[in-house]
Every structure is written in structure tokens, then in C-alpha cells.
């Protein structure tokens, strides 16, 4: 699943470490999410979207495989 985390994070001027700390995950998790190597749980997706003040659909792009 693609996502816009890196783009939105850069727009808001937040570092990976900061976002990771705020979400209660490791920096590697944020990095893996941004690279599309790891898909988050619905809970983490919700937390990230809520933090950015957006809906899950605005942050995560669902694509039929």
C-alpha cells in the first residue's frame, strides 16, 4: 500500500524520529512505512492520519493488487 507519510511529514517539517516518538513506534517503523516495505495496523494508520489532521484515505492510498 502506498502512502503520503513522507510527503506530509516534510510539509509539516517533522523528522522521522519525532513522528516515531509521537506515534510510540521506532524510527525504523516510520522509515519502512515511508518506503512501502511495511503496511501499518489499522490502529497505527488511524493514529498517523489523526496526527496529521487527515483521514486514513488521505494518507494511505489503497491499490488493488
Amino acid at each position: 500500500m502506498k502512502n503520503r507519510i513522507e510527503e506530509i511529514r516534510n510539509e509539516k517539517g517533522i523528522r522521522q524520529e519525532e513522528l516515531a516518538k509521537l506515534m510510540g513506534v521506532s524510527r525504523q517503523t516510520i522509515s519502512s512505512l515511508e518506503n512501502g516495505r511495511y503496511n501499518p495496523s489499522i490502529l497505527l494508520a488511524y493514529k498517523i492520519a489523526k496526527f496529521f489532521g487527515m483521514t486514513i484515505e488521505e494518507v494511505f492510498i489503497f491499490e488493488e493488487e
Binding site: K21, G24, V25, S26, Q28, T29, S32, Y38, S41, L43
Partner: protein, 134 residues
Amino acid sequence: MYNNRRLALSIFWVVIGLVLVGLSIAEKLDSSMYAGMGGALAAVGALQVIRNLQYRRNEEYREKVDTEVSDERNRFLRMKSWSWTGYIVVLVEAIGVVVAMILGKETVQLVLAYSVCLLVGVYWLSYVVLSRKY
């Protein structure tokens, strides 16, 4: 993550380890294996005690450990690793059964075959239990 029970257990391993080493030095125990085992137990226990104390005293370390333990990607990786381990062990043992059969090692073949059956049985049981839970 760390609590008093864990600290007590770590100290217990150190004590047991030191007792084993002491008994081996005093030649109360025959095998040098006990000295090695005791040394390893004491070392691991001491390491755990140090980590436990650091966790209590160092807030930054505590935060780091808590994040590492609760991080969902780390949990995913741990579960995935166990899953791969299971698959690889079953595959290697199944190959081992065939190789043992070709080499005529009946005992090895039997042990490996039973082991594969046991693993498949545990997998099936886990699946049934988990499917009732979720």
C-alpha cells in the same frame, strides 16, 4: 518491561551460577561442565541485573526499550521469524527423513518423521485454538 520479579530471577541465576562455579572449584562436582554452565548462568544473570537497573535509572533507556518491545513492526518481525523458523525446520526435517531413508539410518528417519508429525500436530492445535479466539 522489567519488574521486581525479573530482577529477583536475574539475581537468582547469578547466585545459582556462582554456587555451581564454587562447587566445581571445590571439587564437589565431578564434571567441568557445571563450572561452564555456572559461569554462563552467572554472566547472563549479571547482564540482566545491569539491564534491569539501567532500565530503572535511565529514563531515555527505559523509553527506548519500551518502544522496541511494543513497536508493532518489531512484533510483526518476531512473529514472522517464528513462522519462518517453523517452515524451515519442517522442511529440513522432511528432507532429513528422505536422506536418512536413502542412507538406511532407520532410527534417525523415525525420530525426524515423529518430529515432523509433532510439529504439524502443534501447528494444527494452535490453528484450532487461535481460530476459536479470533
